[in-house]
């Protein structure tokens, strides 16, 4: 179940992005190895009125099944979960995916911080948090929780992100996280062993 990275075993991956995120996440999903055991959870800021097409958009790019997360559903291995629009996605003990309609965080629902903080509680040192392109500071506090729980942080190198504000904020708050280009993060994912 565990997947060895250069910096430790990975039991789950959380990814957060905002502006420019559809493209960036698409690139990463393309790099996910079909043998990956760890579940992947994604929060991408979206206009809340629109029905989510993300799972449909991402599925053709990804060797693993991609689905919109639902409430209190047991987490399956080798599966990519996308937060539905206008709900926070959390990971609860089980692990289960859970949703909430609590207030937006950083004007966003779903919020990256909410996913990362709850996932850090469940996966502890086995969690890899990835903050990508975006235009607000959501994700910085969440990544701090991931790292405080013993997990690992990766941030898209701000100057290479389509919008640098979000990765820059995450990096500033979490100097111990690794800043990498999207291609290098994709390479990291592709190298995740079974």
């Amino acid at each position: 179940m565990s997947t060895a990275l250069p910096f430790g075993p990975v039991r789950a991956i959380v990814i957060g992005a905002s502006a420019g995120g559809v493209e960036a996440i698409g690139t990463l999903l393309q790099a996910l190895p079909a043998e990956l055991q760890a579940p992947v959870f994604i929060v991408l800021h979206l206009p809340r009125e629109q029905p989510s097409l993300l799972a449909t958009i991402f599925q053709p790019k990804c060797a693993l099944p991609v689905k919109e997360a639902s409430d209190k559903e047991p987490v399956a291995a080798s599966t990519v979960y996308v937060a539905p629009p206008d709900y926070h996605l959390l990971i609860d003990a089980g692990p289960l995916t859970a949703l909430s309609a609590d207030d937006p965080v950083h004007y966003s629902r779903p919020a990256i911080d909410v996913l990362f903080e709850s996932a850090a509680d469940v996966y502890r040192a086995g969690l890899l948090g990835v903050v990508l392109t975006g235009g607000n500071q959501d994700g910085a506090a969440g990544l701090a929780s991931v790292i405080a729980s013993g997990g690992q942080g990766v941030v898209q190198l701000p100057e290479t992100a389509q919008v640098s504000y979000m990765p820059a904020a995450a990096l500033q708050r979490n100097p111990s996280s690794r800043a990498m280009t999207l291609a290098d993060i994709a390479g990291l994912f592709a190298a995740l062993p079974e």
């Binding site: 926070h88 609860d92 859970a98 949703l99 309609a101 207030d103």
Partner: protein, 289 residues
């Protein structure tokens, strides 16, 4: 750990951090002292809300917060806000109200009088949405709406029917998308930055305290609307709530839940048929207890 304590979480105790231990003790303390039962609330959201509350009350740990809550009842009311309130929009998910309008109300119209239960009504946005929908469909005068929540302050706000004017543009767009037969502005008066909704809308609304965790069925109703409440419950409490709804509903009565909630995985899946799948509207199956 004794059996009583492990029952607190509704599952074998696996508290792995101080925070989780403290959370379990705190919800037990609140239950013992105030008879508010959060023991079967979903833990991840509860943790997040408690963390916010710690900041609000200047407590470094949940144990400190527990001390305040036990020894200073004045702290409990504002605390309850953090645990229960969630703000919804009027006509949130317009498709839900459209489905009620097009698929449910035509069937309810055949009854001489109607009863509707809005469970977990919070600050009332959904209550007024339903009242306006019922008025548009000519049914409000013969309907009684029970609007219940565990939060007394939220119920007061619901009863007042006053919302910030800046939220009304969103309400109006939702209302329009629900297949509105009137203009939302027909139902409120604007002033001092607020929209005050027409008192006649709540003439037949009974606002009252009711807990899905500890209280029982109080009326027989034709429609239960309970949206984005079940997601805060664990499976056990979801099953309890759905059981109450089933027992409250008349034969072939209707149940509407949140757009990301489902009865499919519950113990009561067999008691309901899907009426509008996307909009999460169900009909009590004939013969369901």
């Amino acid at each position: 750990m004794d059996a009583g304590l492990s029952a607190v979480a509704g599952e074998p105790s696996v508290a792995s951090s101080d925070f989780e231990i403290e959370l379990q003790l705190l919800v037990e303390a609140i239950y013992l002292k105030y008879h508010c039962d959060f023991r079967s609330y979903a833990k991840a959201s509860l943790k997040r809300r408690m963390t916010t509350a710690m900041g609000r009350f200047g407590c470094a740990t949940l144990s400190q917060l527990q001390d305040r809550i036990l020894h200073d009842p004045a702290v409990f009311a504002p605390m309850l806000e953090y645990l229960t309130v969630q703000v919804s929009d009027m006509f949130r998910d317009p498709g839900y109200f459209r489905a009620l309008r097009e698929q449910v109300l035509p069937q309810l119209r055949t009854y001489p009088s109607l009863k509707i239960w809005v469970a977990g009504c919070s600050t009332g946005e959904e209550v007024y949405s339903l009242a306006i929908l019922l008025r548009e469909e000519g049914l409000l005068a013969r309907t009684i709406v029970y609007a219940t929540d565990i939060n007394a302050k939220a119920l007061q706000k619901a009863e007042a029917g006053v919302y910030e004017l800046e939220r009304v543009a969103g309400f109006t767009a939702n209302h329009h998308a629900s297949g509105a037969r009137s203009s939302l502005s027909d139902y409120y008066v604007a002033g001092y930055g607020n929209a005050v909704f027409d008192k006649s809308l709540k003439k037949n609304v009974v606002f009252s305290d009711h807990s899905l965790a500890t209280d029982s069925v109080f009326a027989e109703v034709h429609l239960v609307s309970c949206r984005n409440v079940l997601i805060y419950f664990d499976r056990t409490l979801q099953d309890r709530a759905l059981g109450l709804f089933r027992d409250s509903l008349v034969r072939k009565g209707f149940l509407g839940i949140g757009s990301k909630e489902s009865v499919r995985f519950s113990a009561h899946a067999e008691d309901f048929d899907e009426l509008a799948r996307e909009e999460r509207i169900y009909q009590k199956r004939d013969g369901a207890a």
